[in-house]
Amino acid sequence: MSQSDATLRIELQFSGGMELLFDNQKTIHAKVPAFFPLDTSAEDKHAATIRDLISWTASNLLKERPELFIGTDGSVRSGILVLVNGADWELEGELEYELEDRDEIVFISTLHGG
């Protein structure tokens, strides 16, 4: 299999209201490209990171209003916490974390109501 065909099985989960941006799906089993950038002519491919996953998710899965998901710097917007296999992504390298096959990535919108 060539680099451009390789994919990773990633379980995406959405909670705290994030699911409302994804057609009310709380879980999406996604096949995410293993290497970015996607342009097949690119010479400098790198293994997919969470940074890549965020933009890929916005382009391929998001149903509405990308500004409620993506921030200004290629990260998620303020107020979204990302979990990598059940742990705060900050413990795993944040945007630079390299995805592995069968990873579970959760996007949580923090709640403020009471």
Partner: protein, 277 residues
């Protein structure tokens, strides 16, 4: 000033008997509660169950902050109030219910909007702070005042069918700003009045806040790493505990070289005020 005691009275021993015989709790933990003061900020959905169970459990002094009054649309979730108290201050109504349940608990009513001008003095007067509020601006305000006052902050939130629970600024764990350095865009913020909420959801989170505050006061959670508990009423696995980062050395609030050293203008910072509903 809050007076500590060296022994429980006989009526207290009769009342708290089931906790006094509890292995791993007992007389020492009950004394710890008696000699602890806690501030519940918000007497709404979260504060209702939280304040009731803290008052019942034997906390010596319980402060209640709320500027709002009881409305009929609160009563599906704010079970500390009742129909006859419509229009009454929520802080006073909560205090009344706690006094009827347990006159040994000293309840202090703070009928006001917590803001930069008054928050620090109030927070400094308590040992443990409980964030049971319903808006972003007050959440940042409480975080900053708790860091400046060196108080653990038991934070709960609820909306629709979901809830979240974290202890901030405690035993090397993060503060709210370590996790969320900048406030969310105001168009992404929904409160219970606009988004709706199933009444028992804040009830559950408020009970868990009371439990966490009791665990802090009595040392039951000594060994726990920082976590966030996520609740989702319509998932088949309703609860999930996630491991959180530690305090960030570069946090502008609780880091090694903080740049915020007194309370700021949170309405401007968040683009929304504490009394937006």
């Amino acid at each position: 000033p809050f007076e500590k005691v060296v022994a429980l009275t006989n009526p207290e021993i009769a009342r708290y008997g089931r906790q006094l015989i509890l292995p791993g709790f007992g007389i020492q933990a009950q004394m710890d509660l008696r000699n602890c003061s806690m501030l519940v900020v918000g007497a709404g959905g979260l504060g209702a169950s939280c304040a009731l169970y803290l008052g019942a459990a034997g906390v010596g002094r319980l402060g209640i902050v709320d500027h709002d009054t009881v409305d009929i649309s609160n009563l599906h979730r704010q079970v500390i109030h009742n129909e006859a108290r419509q229009g009454m201050s929520k802080a006073r109504s909560a205090a009344l219910s706690i006094q009827l349940l347990n006159p040994h608990c000293e309840v202090v009513v703070h009928e006001l909007v917590l803001e930069s001008s008054n928050a620090q003095e109030i927070i400094n007067a308590y040992d443990i702070i409980i964030d049971a509020t319903d808006n972003v601006a007050t959440r940042y305000l409480l975080n900053d005042a708790s860091v400046l006052g060196q108080k653990p902050l038991v934070s709960g939130s609820a909306l629709r069918l979901d809830g979240q629970l974290t202890i901030y600024n405690y035993r090397g764990g993060p503060c709210y700003r370590c996790l969320f350095p900048t406030p969310p865009p105001s168009e992404t913020v929904t409160n219970c009045s606009d988004g709706g909420v199933l009444g028992v959801v804040p009830g559950i989170v408020g009970c868990l806040q009371a439990l966490e505050a009791i665990k802090i006061a009595t040392g039951l959670n000594k060994e726990d790493p920082p976590t966030m508990t996520l609740f989702s009423a319509n998932s088949s696995t309703m609860f999930r505990t996630i491991k959180l980062r530690k305090r960030k050395p570069d946090c502008i609030m609780c880091g090694d070289a903080p740049t915020i050293t007194k309370l700021i203008d949170y309405v401007r910072f968040c683009g929304s005020s504490a009394t937006d509903k």
